[in-house]
Symmetry: C2
Subunit: 135 residues, 2 copies
Amino acid sequence: MGTEEIKLAGLKVTLPRTRILQILETNKTRHMSAEDVYRVLLDDDASSIALATVYRVLTQFETAGLVIRHNFEGGQAVFELDNGEHHDHMVCLKSGKIVEFHDEIIEQRQREIAKEHGFELADHSLILYGEFKGK
Amino acid sequence: MGTEEIKLAGLKVTLPRTRILQILETNKTRHMSAEDVYRVLLDDDASSIALATVYRVLTQFETAGLVIRHNFEGGQAVFELDNGEHHDHMVCLKSGKIVEFHDEIIEQRQREIAKEHGFELADHSLILYGEFKGK
DNA sequence: ATCAATGCAAAAACTTTGCACTGAT
DNA sequence: ATCAGTGCAAAGTTTTTGCATTGAT
């Protein structure tokens, strides 16, 4: 389970970290804001973990490469577990539903474009905004 | 000049709006945060236009389709004039330099992917982060 | 004259930080 | 015992809003 990952990240294995990682692993929606995580903590636990701690832990997890932070529209950053498989996102402007996708053609073109501009690509963010229409 | 566009947007032609549009049109860097615009106003003008007004006007311009708001990394939103030609961005993490690009292959793939998911595409955001290397 | 637009200050929303206490090793 | 981790409250940042005044038509 997650305890290992925390240790490998050079962080002490504490209750807040274990719980937050657990929540990220088990929550039905993969993408959660700090507030989302905090709310689950409030509901599930009798324990009291501060919102500030949630932010701190998520930031540490991000630094450690355990989670990825996204800045979608709407102020709040959202976090998701980094499963190692890069992907982009489709965000429904109506429901907030998020679907992940990966397209090698797009990835390839990005690398080419960067190269053409003498740009050393470190990362990228591709988000499609729109609306899921019932099939 | 810009006066027409403001009128067409259904907004009264006022000094703050004229000046802000003018700044967006003439500033050497196309992408400016509200603070950037505000700073130019402070320097150039004896007039005093409030930061709140800059935010209000930029938001109105966005609604009117005159400018586009981007949420790049780093907290502050940046605005650019909408010249009608859609493009994406390369952002240098070192210098902050921004280069625009457009790639029809990527655009096309996005449309296809959206279609495959029953997703009605309204908009998208593609940002490449990295570093420009001397040629 | 009318009603939108603005300045100012206050508030809101999100996130970070200082500090004294707690807890993992 | 030590030093990282945490809770709490306070502060920081960016953006928005309420309200009285100003200004465009």
